[in-house]
């Protein structure tokens, strides 16, 4: 008997020590002054403590939560061949239905095309493929796209060093990203979210390019009023600041002889720099510069880009551009004088090959005579990519093949040779850093599909800290109220229950830390709720003991009976709460899961503290001497 008693005491003591050790880093973290924290962070010591402290959810420490989905529609559209008007019509329908309904994109696609009586192999796969096979392929492709996207997002997120980012694949071909500590969503999304699409596209013949520009120029000259009101107006407020003696700055109004008084948004204040000499005859060309001196083709000042894009977007002008081609800017700028310029290219709208076939790309130093000592970018492709690439390069010798990342041209090397095995080298890529940039674009830009954002949540650090403080206050005040009530109502026994209550919270927090659970605001609510319900078991027991005492039993017998007879009710009532917590954990998202976790741990711990610990304390009291009255 004596030995058993000792063992119980030791068990409780051991748990206390264990919890104390578990919670010490959290205590240190929470009580640390901000300047101490900053210093430790700079010394790299902070991580050691934070790693062991309680993990706070995004809603408490601030951060960003993003859910991405593979943009299946654009992936399928990109892979479709022989597109005709019937295709566009059906595809539009598929997109609309998929966006509305419960079904995901691929099954909808299968259904819509089947209903229309059009076999999928008309646009996808090869001739003999059944619909099922093509749909299966698509599913596979979308999963594959997701895997790549995961890799790449991980890669990018690693690069900007958030502490403990989390990237997970979740149900429905989605990626969930959690970035604790960040609060600027836009910036984060720019860095990770804007997923790059890498394509190889052929440049249109220089001859064709020249013709198209000529035609546009003539059209602009002919119809000076071609710019719409808002374009003109936005240009009207542009800064007037001539750059070189030859250039004159003028408004687009002047350019196209139109005025409109609609006030323009202030944000669009670019100026347009026009070569006065050619302005009168060639108003469109006037927006450009010949950049041959820099080894480049047609280029425009970044200040003119907006105006040019607006002109190009006009339906009248669109008609002049070949239907299989589009204008794209270079991704990087270069300087003429002190001004930034971008090159404009005319490329085929359909990609020859997409970056998902790339397997590797890196910078090496050229070893042959031509490139000795110069950086070159070598790349490798998978088998299918290699085959296609051999065909493409073979058929288009001497032509320029643009590497397009997110609709901007990274580089447009000339195809010198047929590249048979999917291994090629891009020469003349400029200095080392430019070469590196190109290799990075090729390497991590090789994502087959865009990702769309499905859900996005961010909590600023202020609200997070605010929530922590409020949660703490509520928990402390709640605890004090309960403790006060118990002490007044049940006196000494109430104090015993209060010890159990405090231990309950203490152990609960320790378990959270040790098992790496995340504490969220609903989680704190769960703790507060646990505090309220923690004494329930003791209330049940105490009421029962009182009843037993009233029947005239001895103190020790009453305690005995109270515990054993209240047991079934306690188990029953706790099981219902555990069941709900279980359901919540299954269906809840992040924050709600946190609630389910604290609630269920709270209950399990509660069973221990309110039944076992209080019992041991009662045993202590009654073992010394035989009580005739119990303070309850």
């Amino acid at each position: 008997m004596r030995g058993k008693f000792l063992a119980k005491n030791l068990l409780i003591l051991a748990l206390l020590v264990w919890s104390g050790i578990s919670l010490w880093p959290t205590y240190k973290m929470q009580s640390m002054e901000p300047d101490v924290r900053a210093r430790m962070e700079s010394e790299g010591k902070l991580k050691k403590i934070t790693g062991k402290a309680i993990r706070l959810g995004l809603d408490l420490q601030g951060g960003i939560y993003l859910v991405y989905e593979v943009d299946m529609p654009s992936l399928a559209e990109k892979n479709a061949g022989n597109r005709d008007s019937r295709f566009e019509e059906l595809f539009q329908k598929v997109k609309e239905e998929a966006a509305k309904g419960d079904e995901s994109f691929i099954p909808v696609l299968g259904r819509v095309f089947q209903e229309a009586g059009i076999p999928l192999h008309r646009y996808w796969g090869s001739r003999d493929d059944s619909d099922e096979k093509i749909l299966r392929e698509m599913e596979k492709e979308s999963r594959d796209a997701l895997d790549r996207a995961m890799e790449k997002l991980r890669n990018r997120i690693d690069q900007f060093g958030v502490s403990e980012p989390s990237i997970q694949k979740i149900r429905g071909n989605r990626i969930l990203i959690e970035l604790p500590g960040l609060s600027n969503v836009q910036q984060a999304k720019d860095q990770i979210g804007k997923t790059a699409l890498l394509e190889f596209r052929l440049l249109k013949d220089p001859q064709v390019y020249g013709d198209v520009l000529d035609r546009i120029d003539k059209a602009v000259a002919r119809e000076k009023g071609i710019l719409s009101a808002d374009t003109a107006a936005s240009a009207e407020q542009m800064a007037v600041k001539p750059k070189t003696s030859q250039d004159t700055v003028l408004s687009v109004n002047e350019l196209f002889g139109e005025t409109d008084e609609t006030p323009a948004p202030a944000a669009t204040g670019d100026s347009i720099i026009v070569d006065q000499n050619i302005f009168q005859k060639n108003p469109f060309y006037a927006l450009f510069r010949n950049a041959r001196m820099q080894g480049r083709e047609v280029a425009a000042s970044v200040n003119n880009i907006r105006a040019i894009e607006q002109i190009l977007a006009k339906p009248e002008i669109q008609k002049l551009i070949p239907s299989d081609a589009e204008f794209l800017w270079s991704s990087e700028t270069f300087k003429i004088g002190d001004e930034d310029f971008r090159e404009l290219f005319l490329v085929k709208s359909e990609a020859e090959l997409t970056g998902d076939h790339l397997t590797d790309a890196r910078v090496t130093i050229g070893s042959d005579v031509k490139n000795a000592g110069q950086p070159v970018v070598s790349f490798a492709m998978d088998r299918k990519g290699g085959r296609d690439f051999a065909r493409i390069t073979g058929a288009n010798l001497r032509k320029r093949l643009a590497i397009v990342l997110d609709g901007r041209i990274v580089s447009a090397p000339v195809i010198n040779d047929r590249i048979p095995n999917g291994r090629g080298v891009i020469e003349g890529v400029g200095k080392m850093d430019e070469a590196n940039w190109l290799a990075i674009c090729l390497r991590i830009g090789a994502l087959p599909a865009n990702l769309t954002i499905m859900e996005e949540r961010s909590v600023g650090p202020t609200l997070g800290q605010d929530s922590i403080n409020r949660g703490k206050t509520a928990a402390i005040v709640g605890t004090l109220l309960v403790i006060l009530f118990m002490a007044v109502y049940y006196r000494l026994s109430g104090l015993i229950a209060n010890i159990a209550l405090l231990l309950n919270v203490f152990f609960l927090l320790a378990v959270l830390v040790q098992f790496g659970f995340t504490l969220t605001m609903p989680g704190i609510a769960g703790i507060v709720l646990t505090i309220g319900m923690a004494v329930d078991a003791n209330v049940l027991v105490f009421e029962r003991i009182r009843e037993e005492l009233r029947t005239g039993k001895t103190v020790r017998a009453s305690i005995e009976a109270g515990y054993s007879r209240a047991f079934s009710a306690i188990i029953d009532s706790n099981i219902t709460t555990l069941l709900t917590a279980f359901v919540l954990y299954q269906f809840g998202t992040g924050a709600v899961k946190g609630f389910a976790v604290t609630l269920s741990i709270g209950i399990v711990v509660n069973m221990f503290t309110s039944l076992f610990v209080t019992r041991v304390i009662f045993e202590h009291i009654t073992s010394r001497r035989t009580l005739t009255r119990l303070s309850i």
């Binding site: 969503v185 309960v482 609903p522 319900m533 079934s568 099981i575 555990l578 069941l579």
Partner: protein
């Protein structure tokens, strides 16, 4: 100290009065849901973008609306979020699903309208229409499975008449709380669903303790009328029922009053739910069993039959 010294209240006899009270509470809530305010769904379920901002100095909702009208977001919902200078702005615009864009637009508009009253974004949530739909489904499934699990559990542990009573009390608690949730104008999001499910667990917890005692007493007082046993049981557990309700209520009240806007709706459900749950385990759950039994058979059937495990 003791609230009720050997209470002997005739709960069963007065049951009609409490049915009436419950009915009034229920109808008030339903009137709010179906005729007046309805249930306001939060961002999780309806999709769109919501933005919580805190200004340095107080502004009015009207001023914010003016600022937003300038960028075509005049139709946004704007509500106070706790403190005087904190607001939640909700826009259902989800066209291109360009989340941050709507938030940025709001930012810009507020900056230009209040150049010398800076604001801080506390929280931005954007939920795409598809996700909103899925979350609704998830919430529904969660509620459904929780209820099914409870039913299964009760029917294993108790005679089925008790199950009827417990489930009635459960719906009583949840529906009345839902009604008052609507009256108070809180928003229903995932967190609040979690609170409702917890309430489901709590409501049963309370009822079970009373039933547990009834079950016990039925064996002890074999010759008493069912209503007498019921009254005895409710009275015996009265202190416990009230005390547990009270301690939980104290903790949750602290959460409701001090926990801040983030958990206000959540805490309200718990607060009100515990109140009504405690009430129903005394005044509704057991009387319903009596009611049912009076119509469908004597107390004989209520004896713990052979097929049920005894305690």
């Amino acid at each position: 100290m003791q609230f009720f010294k050997t209470p002997n209240i005739d709960f069963i006899g007065k049951r009609r009065k409490f049915y009436f009270l419950s009915l009034v509470l229920f109808l008030a809530g339903m009137a709010s849901i179906f005729l007046h305010k309805g249930i306001q769904y939060g961002i999780d379920f309806k999709g769109g973008t919501s933005l919580v901002v805190r200004f340095e100095k107080p502004v009015t909702i009207g001023q914010i609306r003016d600022a937003l009208s300038g960028v075509g977001l005049g139709g946004s919902e704007i509500k106070r979020f706790g403190a005087e200078s904190e607001f939640i702005i909700y826009s259902s615009q989800q066209g291109a699903m360009n989340a941050a864009d709507a938030a940025d637009l709001v930012d810009e508009a507020l900056n230009s309208q209040f150049p010398d009253n800076r604001h801080e974004r506390l929280q931005v949530d954007t939920v795409g229409p598809k996700i909103g739909q899925e979350l609704r489904k998830k919430a529904f499934m969660a509620v459904f499975f929780a209820l099914v699990l409870m039913l299964v559990y009760i029917s294993i542990r108790f005679e089925w008449v008790f199950a009827v009573g417990a489930v009635s009390a459960l719906f009583h608690d949840v529906l009345i709380t839902l009604g008052f949730f609507s009256i108070m104008g809180f928003e229903l999001s995932l967190k609040e669903i979690a609170a409702f499910l917890t309430l489901v667990g709590y409501s049963l917890n309370d009822t079970i303790v009373v039933y547990d005692r009834i079950r016990e007493n039925l064996k002890v007082f074999r010759n008493d009328e069912l209503s007498v046993v019921m009254n005895k049981s409710i009275n015996q557990t009265l202190n416990r029922t009230v005390n547990t309700g009270l301690t939980t209520l104290l903790a949750v009240a602290a959460l409701y009053l001090l926990g801040g806007e983030v958990v206000r709706g959540f805490a309200f459900i718990m607060l009100f739910g515990i109140l009504i749950g405690t009430y129903s385990s005394i005044f509704v759950a057991a009387p319903i069993v009596v009611e049912w039994q009076a119509r469908h058979g004597g107390r004989q059937e209520l004896r713990m039959g052979k097929k049920h495990k005894s305690l």
